[in-house]
C-alpha cells in the first residue's frame, strides 16, 4: 500500500513533470494561452500516459529488449490517434484549439520517459499509480499556467470575466513570451516552496535526534 501511495503522490509535487522535471515543455508553452487549453492538454496527455503505461507494463515481458522503443512508440501512437479521432468527432472545439499539439503527444517525453523509467520495470498495479500521479501532476500544472495567462492576458478564467472592468489586459501574456514568463515564475515558486519544505524536514530530523 505504501508503494502505491508514494508512486502516486510523487508526480503531483516532488517529481512533477512540468515544474520539477521540466520535461514535456513544448505543449506546456504552446497551448496554455487560456485555462481551457491548458486543462484539455493536461487531460489528453494524462489519458495517453495512463493507458500507455498500463499497456506497456502488461506486455513488457513479451517485447524483446532490442525492439522495445519501436514497440512502445507504436502503442503510444495508437492511443494518441484514437484520442485524436474521438476528440475530432465529439469535442471539435477543443480539437481545433489543441491543433497540431494533439498528435504531438506521441513524442511528449513524459510518456516515453515513464514507459522507460517505470512501466517497463514495475508491476502493472504500480505503473497505473505512477501514471495517475504523473497525469494529475501534468493536469494541475498546465491548468494553473493556463489560468494565470488567461487571467492576466484577458482578465478572464475559463471564459468568465473575473477581473474588474478597469483592468487593462496584458496582451503579451497570451502570446509566446507570456508562456515563458509564467512557466519561469511558477518553477521559481515551486522550487522555493520545495526548498522550504526540505529545510523544515532537515530541522525536524535534527530536533528529534
Amino acid at each position: 500500500m505504501k508503494h502505491f501511495y508514494s508512486d502516486f503522490i510523487k508526480g503531483l509535487w516532488r517529481e512533477n513533470p512540468t515544474f520539477r522535471l521540466l520535461i514535456g515543455l513544448c505543449p506546456t508553452l504552446a497551448v496554455t494561452n487560456n485555462a481551457l487549453g491548458g486543462f484539455s492538454m493536461g487531460v489528453s496527455t494524462a489519458f495517453v500516459l495512463i493507458l500507455s503505461s498500463t499497456m506497456i507494463s502488461l506486455v513488457k515481458h513479451l517485447i524483446p529488449d532490442k525492439v522495445r522503443i519501436p514497440a512502445y512508440i507504436v502503442l503510444i501512437a495508437t492511443f494518441v490517434t484514437i484520442l485524436e479521432l474521438f476528440m475530432n468527432a465529439y469535442l471539435p472545439a477543443i480539437y481545433a484549439q489543441l491543433g497540431i499539439f494533439l498528435p504531438l503527444i506521441v513524442v511528449n517525453c513524459i510518456i516515453l520517459g515513464r514507459a522507460e523509467a517505470f512501466a517497463s520495470k514495475m508491476p502493472v498495479s504500480r505503473s497505473i499509480f505512477d501514471a495517475l500521479g504523473m497525469g494529475f501532476g501534468i493536469i494541475w500544472a498546465l491548468t494553473s499556467i493556463g489560468i494565470m495567462r488567461e487571467l492576466f492576458g484577458t482578465g478572464q478564467v475559463f471564459g468568465f470575466q473575473v477581473m474588474p472592468s478597469s483592468f487593462e489586459p496584458i496582451g503579451m501574456m497570451t502570446a509566446a513570451p507570456g508562456a515563458f514568463i509564467t512557466l519561469g515564475t511558477a518553477v521559481a515558486i515551486v522550487t522555493y516552496i520545495s526548498d522550504r519544505i526540505a529545510k523544515k524536514h532537515a530541522k525536524g530530523k535534527k530536533a528529534t535526534e
Binding site: 524483446p64 532490442k66 465529439y90 496582451g171
Partner: protein, 197 residues
C-alpha cells in the same frame, strides 16, 4: 526460435493489433467528424449569406472563362473544381452564393468564405474559416470592423489595401493576405456561378 525472428514476430503482431484498433476507431468516428465539418461550414455559410436557410453545393468548372480574364489565368487552373455554396431562403429561392478562397498570411494559410448577393453580385458577407495568425494581433482580421469593409464591393470595385481597405495596425501581413484572398477569385466565382446556376 532465434532472437531476430522473435523481434519480427512481436513487432508485426503489435502493429497488426494497432492497425485493427485504429481501423475500428476510424470507422466509429468517421460519420461524426464529417457531420462536424459540414455543420461548421454550413454555419459559416449562413453567416455570410443573410437570409439563407439551406445550402446547395454547385460544382463549378470555371474552364469556359476567357484566357485574358485576369482572374482566371493565375489562380484557378483549368481542371480545378470550384465549389460554390448556393444559399436558399425559406421559399427555396436563391439568395446568392458563397465560396472559399485562401492566401498565405503571417502564420499560415488564411481561409475565408465570401458571400455574394444573387442580384447585385456584390459581397454581402465575409468570414474567416481557418487561420493561424498571431493571437491578439493578426486575429483582428476576424473582427467585424475589419471584415465589414469588404461588404458592398463588387468585381469592378477596387479593393486595394491602404486605399479602399484600412489595414489593421500591427498586422499588415494578415490584412494584406485577407484582402488578396478576397480579391483573387471574386471574378472567377461570379462568372462560374452565372454559368452554373
Amino acid at each position: 526460435m532465434g532472437e531476430s525472428t522473435r523481434m519480427i514476430i512481436v513487432l508485426t503482431v503489435i502493429c497488426m493489433i494497432s492497425a485493427g484498433v485504429l481501423a475500428w476507431a476510424y470507422n466509429v468516428t468517421y460519420e461524426p467528424i464529417l457531420a462536424n465539418r459540414a455543420r461548421a461550414l454550413h454555419s459559416s455559410i449562413f453567416q455570410v449569406l443573410p437570409g439563407a436557410e439551406d445550402v446547395r453545393v454547385i460544382e463549378a468548372r470555371p474552364t469556359s472563362l476567357a484566357e485574358d480574364d485576369e482572374y482566371s489565368t493565375k489562380t484557378v487552373d483549368s481542371d480545378q473544381v470550384l465549389l460554390l455554396y448556393q444559399g436558399l431562403n425559406a421559399n427555396g429561392k436563391s439568395v446568392g452564393f458563397a465560396y472559399l478562397s485562401e492566401e498565405t498570411g503571417y502564420g499560415g494559410i488564411i481561409q475565408v468564405l465570401i458571400g455574394v448577393d444573387e442580384n447585385t453580385e456584390k459581397i454581402v458577407g465575409v468570414t474567416v474559416v481557418e487561420h493561424s495568425e498571431t493571437a491578439g494581433i493578426g486575429t483582428k482580421i476576424e473582427e467585424e470592423g475589419f471584415k465589414s469593409q469588404f461588404i458592398g464591393k463588387g468585381v469592378n470595385d477596387p479593393i486595394t489595401i491602404g486605399i479602399d481597405i484600412d489595414s489593421i495596425t500591427g498586422s499588415t501581413v494578415s490584412s494584406e493576405a485577407m484582402t488578396k484572398a478576397i480579391n483573387k477569385n471574386l471574378g472567377v466565382a461570379i462568372q462560374a456561378y452565372r454559368e452554373a446556376k
